[in-house]
């Protein structure tokens, strides 16, 4: 009995750990949707790129994970802006690309991007998994529960970054502009907000957050290019659960997803546990398309 409880707690902790990273990851995706109304199918691959950059930094520059994090975030931010320029801007002919058709187009193009990145990474990494060494090796032991301090740190940083973003969105001028555009792009534009700048800024932040989550996980998860697609799908599932465009929703949903997946791995095994995110996705579609905190009351269904 004692064994069962400690097993449960162990999986729960891993789940929370995963959940905080999922939350960070999903916030970027939902922000992108809220502002640009598009789904980035390559979000998971960009997460991996953040991870790879972090591993690279720890090998080449310094084993300090914070440096890897900062570098990954910076590079990913730039990548985000570049992606906006190449993938979204060509579609912006008139006021903006709120055209539903464009949404499908972006989904498909980012799909292609994901495939491109996955195979490029396969070629570059040569089929080996990458992982950076743990910086903090101390393990807390409470009773029969073992908690790795590295994991605690990862979650703390993830929460910190998420909180930082929250402050950015609610207190700074740019953050408010982003929220304004996500609510009503036309009015925001009429009030003098430059849509192009906001869009590219949002894309940059989105990829930056994803890269941050990837950089954080790189010390506890062996990175392999094929993981990216599954991550993108989990991200989509999370933001659907939380409510498209809702930042707080994706935080909650991210935690739910992390814990559910961990529990599922414990109860039904890793092979079948893969079903959890997709089942959640379909359930959300059928039961409540607007998600948990869906302030985005779009007609997803007829």
């Amino acid at each position: 009995m004692q064994d069962l409880v400690s097993l449960f707690i162990n999986f729960l902790i891993v789940g929370i750990n995963l959940g905080t990273l999922y939350a960070l990851f999903a916030v970027g995706l939902t922000l992108l949707f809220g502002v640009l109304r598009v789904v980035n199918a390559a979000h998971g691959m960009l997460f991996l790129i953040g991870g790879y950059l972090s591993v690279l930094t720890s090998l080449v520059l310094s084993p300090n994970p914070f440096i890897g994090l900062v570098l990954a975030m910076t590079v990913c931010f730039i990548i985000g802006i570049l992606l906006y320029g190449t993938l979204i801007r060509p579609l912006r002919l008139r006021t903006g690309k709120l055209d539903p058709r464009d949404r499908e187009t972006v989904l498909v193009t980012t799909f292609g991007l994901s495939m491109f990145l996955e195979n490029m990474l396969l070629i570059i990494t040569g089929g080996r998994t990458w992982i950076s060494t743990e910086f903090f090796t101390q393990i807390f032991i409470i009773g029969s529960v073992r908690i790795a301090s590295q994991r605690v740190l990862i979650s703390l940083v993830a929460v910190f970054v998420t909180a930082f973003l929250w402050i950015f969105l609610s207190k700074t001028k740019s953050g408010l502009a982003i929220r304004a555009v996500s609510q009503d792009a036309d009015t925001a534009r009429a009030l003098g907000v430059n849509l192009g700048i906001i869009y590219s800024l949002t894309f940059g932040i989105s990829v930056m957050l994803s890269g941050a989550a990837g950089a954080l996980i790189s010390s506890v998860l062996a990175l392999y290019p094929t993981l990216g697609f599954g991550l993108s799908l989990r991200g989509i599932s999370i933001i659907l659960l939380g409510g498209l465009g809702s930042v707080s929703g994706s935080v909650v949903a991210g935690l739910i997803m992390g814990i559910s997946e961990s529990m599922a791995i414990w109860l039904i095994g890793a092979a079948w546990a893969d079903i959890v995110p997709f089942t959640i996705m379909l359930l959300v579609f059928v039961i409540r398309p607007s998600g948990l905190f869906g302030r985005w009351i779009e007609q997803a269904r007829e």
């Binding site: 060509p90 989904l107 799909f111 491109f116 195979n119 079903i275 997709f278 997803a300």
Partner: protein
């Protein structure tokens, strides 16, 4: 029955068909026939995708699910205890894909645009996970050892060694699928598909039961995809979970987009082009083939949304002036 289209277009199609019919006799290369057989199979698959996405306007990212259901279904049903002949087996595979798809996917048919695409993606991934983990599909090793087509005089030759009968059979299947799709597209149902694609809200306002027609498009599309899967199973003689991989969906999609979506020939042209290109990459640098595919998708979606057929149409219409 008239086949609409200008004389040059009809002539080109006839010439291509004749060439393809003569190839096994002129080019005695098993490799060439192997590549072309895959082109036929993928041709059927990409036409199936195009029916749903190009004509009915419902972007589906889950084609691989039906391809896999068709492949596994056909393989399993040809083995004991069912022992069904492959001639019926492939139909069963197609029907299985269509029925399972419709039943499981019915609630999602009311979704629109991106949401439908995402739901289809989720569905495909669920199928992929089940196929990896379930016992009946033998996990990662896959299913093999099932019989394949029994031809009248020739018997059951091994596909890799003597591909000729398979070549003609699969080519016929491609032509049949294309013809079937053509008839659907030209019918009243096809017209309904197109109006749903153009403006679904307007179609509903005019009284059309769009959900019904979306279901029909979905059914036919997944049926054809299942047939393609069955044909794949009977040629390759082993069915693995890779049939359900997202790569299959994306490949079919790229083929239809590159060839020209919204047409019947477009996806077929795309299938040949892409498959031959992927084969070519095997000589140049095999790891780069899907890198290139991803790039192609991005480029075509952004700059050439009407594919090769679109380019041809633009070129021909400007030449006529």
């Amino acid at each position: 029955m008239r086949i609409t289209g200008s004389l040059p277009k009809k002539l080109t199609i006839v010439v291509c068909v004749v060439i393809l019919l003569l190839i096994p006799l002129l080019v005695r290369s098993g490799y060439v026939m192997d590549v072309l057989i895959l082109c036929f199979i993928y041709g059927i698959l990409s036409v199936s995708w195009d029916l749903l996405a190009g004509f009915a306007g419902q972007l589906s990212l889950g084609t691989a699910a039906f391809f896999a259901i068709g492949a596994y279904g056909s393989a399993i049903i040809s083995m004991p205890p069912y022992n069904l002949s492959p001639w019926f087996g492939m139909i069963v595979g197609g029907l299985l894909a269509a029925v399972i798809g419709l039943v499981l996917f019915l609630p999602s048919l009311r979704l629109r645009g991106v949401y439908f695409a995402l739901a289809s993606l989720g569905f495909a991934e669920i199928v992929s996970t089940i196929v990896y983990a379930a016992n009946v599909t033998a996990g990662a090793t896959g299913i093999w050892g099932y019989p394949t087509f029994n031809f009248p005089i020739i018997g059951t030759p091994i596909p890799i060694l003597s591909p000729e009968p398979y070549y003609y059979l699969y080519f016929t299947m491609l032509l049949v699928s294309a013809f079937l799709s053509y008839k659907v597209v030209k019918s009243k149902t096809g017209l309904c598909f197109k109006s749903i694609r153009e403006d679904e809200l307007l179609a509903r306002v005019m009284g059309m039961n769009t959900t019904y027609y979306k279901a029909v498009a979905f059914f036919i599309s997944s049926f054809l995809a299942g047939i393609a899967g069955g044909l794949f199973a009977y040629y390759v003689m082993v069915v693995t979970p890779s049939t359900a991989a997202a790569t299959v969906s994306v490949t079919a999609m790229v083929m239809a987009i590159v060839g020209g979506k919204g047409t019947i020939i477009g996806p077929i042209i795309g299938a040949f082009t892409i498959q031959i290109m992927l084969e070519a990459f095997l000589f140049v640098g095999p790891q780069y083939n899907y890198v290139f595919l991803g790039l192609l998708l991005i480029v075509f979606m952004l700059f050439l949304p009407n594919g090769i057929i679109g380019l041809l149409r633009k070129y021909l219409s400007s030449v006529r002036r």
